[in-house]
Symmetry: C2
Subunit: 348 residues, 2 copies
């Protein structure tokens, strides 16, 4: 790995670090998945997110999926701060002569997601462009209680996800390398689960960028590391297990890539662990336990027979170092795996 | 002109008309420059706007101008509904290796505009792309009183603009056809003027798309026409007069193009005209009187020696019919002018 710093965080600081921020804004740069402002004794919550790369690389081609994801991506961030979404504004760049069938399916994807999350299209802006590109801003609110931030976790806290992970990377692998695998993808933002999580969690982020990139951000903003005690094989969703088996990809790779699964990743203090798990069960879902927050900046994990310790940004940076070249990226993942196998076999 | 309908309005209805709208939203599609939702006895106001075409066509190349306009465009819409802006979210698409100098100037343009409008960057989203493209969402509020809509004008109402017009098209002409003209451009959203306007106006729109396109929208949503009693030469800003003289462009052409000047265009009922003008004067500015709202769907105007009557969307549609080809567009403007000269000379 070239450097120890998280390259995405560095990029965001370089581009957004010089902007003057709102004096009453709850979250500083990188501290939360959405922007939070006190408003009439409540919090107003806003988030802009886009579907650009996924369309350009043809990861998403189905217009219904593009519409669904344009809404789901920012709503997932609203869920990660414990807020309730209200409406969405769309910034669309579409080819001037996009066909009616494409447009109807795209609109249905948007409407379907809006109905699912009980939100409405408030407005937007449409421009013509050579290719499709979509950005969306969701507005929401927190009526009572505090917002969830990415910051706040302490060493010893338990790390959880709302569900099994890896579906996003499994989908990406099948799209780019082996379409015969037929992996489906239509994640839903975890608004329901967020209502319980916000009452227990010490911090939260969504896994829209994948597990390892999310851990890299959490490590950077909290100055901590993670001991993933649960073997990665037990964290993988059905789709990820399928790719793990058929493509013989090591477990960790399905949690490494930047195409995430839109689960929530959060921490709960040890003394609240039991109450939290009981309440989740009473609400009809079971959080997935990953491990513990530790005070040293590394990630320990178990992938196959290997026990690996890496820098928190090590895995996340592999994608940035590939400059978006998906074949170079897979190669660098494979090379990293080989290095770890050698290290593991040489360990005393 | 190919058809009588406004082509931009038709495009927006085609793309956005099928989305489910918020049940409490004040404005229907096309009815306001920004989205307005009742919120705790006030109104929450949101607007997404983008700087895409202006960058692609190289109308804007100066990064400081791009930053300034990315903020000014949506803030101008916030002014047009009589609201106060609070903060902005940026959706940036930037080349991965955009140089530091470009980035610093762009950031300074953003920060400069935010200071000018007393707002803050709340957050955003950055993606890498081959070319620069920016979309921004402004959030604002109306603490008391009603929002201004594009709808509400009645025949007999007086039509005003906050200042002289044509600077946007003069700038575009100089950029595309004669850079030696050295026309500057840095419009400011009319937030101060908006505070008086909102207490008097029956309707309002900004001229971000130019005067004739704004009139076309107002005509379509109010089912009215306009009698521009003031000769167009008296409506032109210094920059527009300069291009009118040096490039020998007819007056109306400087008000025709889609690159507007970000003034507010609004109507005041006849009986309030005097009070309104007195109050503006006491606030240190003079609105520009254009003419009257009429109940028949056409625009009458005086350009040079000509008295012209055209369909409200006639001038606005010329740009859409040119498919974004700026040379074809200038040619179609010239052809339209020739046709009107022939008609005028043949008139009894």
């Amino acid at each position: 790995m070239g450097t120890d710093n998280n390259k995405e965080v560095a990029m965001i600081r370089r581009i957004a670090g010089n902007f003057t921020r709102h004096p009453f804004q709850v979250n500083q740069l990188m501290e939360a998945d959405a922007e939070i402002i006190p408003y009439h004794g409540e919090y107003l919550v806003l988030k802009t997110d886009g579907v650009h790369e996924e369309i350009k690389t043809k990861l998403y081609e189905d217009p219904a999926l593009i519409g669904w994801m344009a809404v789901t991506a920012p709503v997932s961030d609203i869920a990660a701060v414990g807020a309730v979404p209200e409406g969405i504004l769309l910034s669309l760049q579409l080819p001037q002569n996009e066909n009616e069938d494409w447009l109807a399916k795209f609109q249905e994807g948007i409407n379907h997601a809006c109905r699912h999350y009980n939100i409405y299209v408030l407005g937007g802006d449409t421009n013509f462009s050579d290719s499709v590109s979509i950005s969306a801003t969701v507005v929401g609110h927190i009526k009572s209680g505090r917002p969830l931030l990415r910051t706040g976790m302490k060493p010893g806290d338990c790390l959880y996800a709302t569900s099994l992970l890896g579906a996003g990377n499994a989908f990406a692998y099948s799209r780019f390398f082996n379409q015969a695998l037929e992996i489906g993808f239509r994640p839903a933002a975890r608004l329901v689960e967020s209502k319980v999580i916000r009452r227990y969690a010490t911090s939260c982020i969504d896994t829209s960028d994948g597990l390892f990139p999310a851990l890299a951000v959490l490590s950077e903003v909290n100055i901590v590391g993670f001991d993933l005690q649960t073997p990665l094989i037990k964290l993988l969703s059905e789709e990820a297990i399928s790719v793990h088996r058929h493509a013989e990809l090591p477990e960790w790779m399905l949690l490494a890539g930047p195409h995430g699964e839109y689960e929530l990743l959060f921490t709960v203090a040890g003394e609240k662990q039991q109450d939290f798990e009981i309440e989740c069960k009473s609400e009809g879902w079971n959080p997935v336990y990953l491990g513990k927050v530790v005070d040293t900046p590394h990630i320990d994990f178990l992938s196959g027979p290997m026990k690996v310790r890496c820098h928190p940004s090590g895995v996340a940076n592999l994608f940035y170092e590939s400059n978006g070249d998906i074949f170079a990226y897979l190669e660098s993942l494979m090379q990293q795996h080989k290095n770890w196998v050698v290290e593991f076999n040489q360990a005393p």
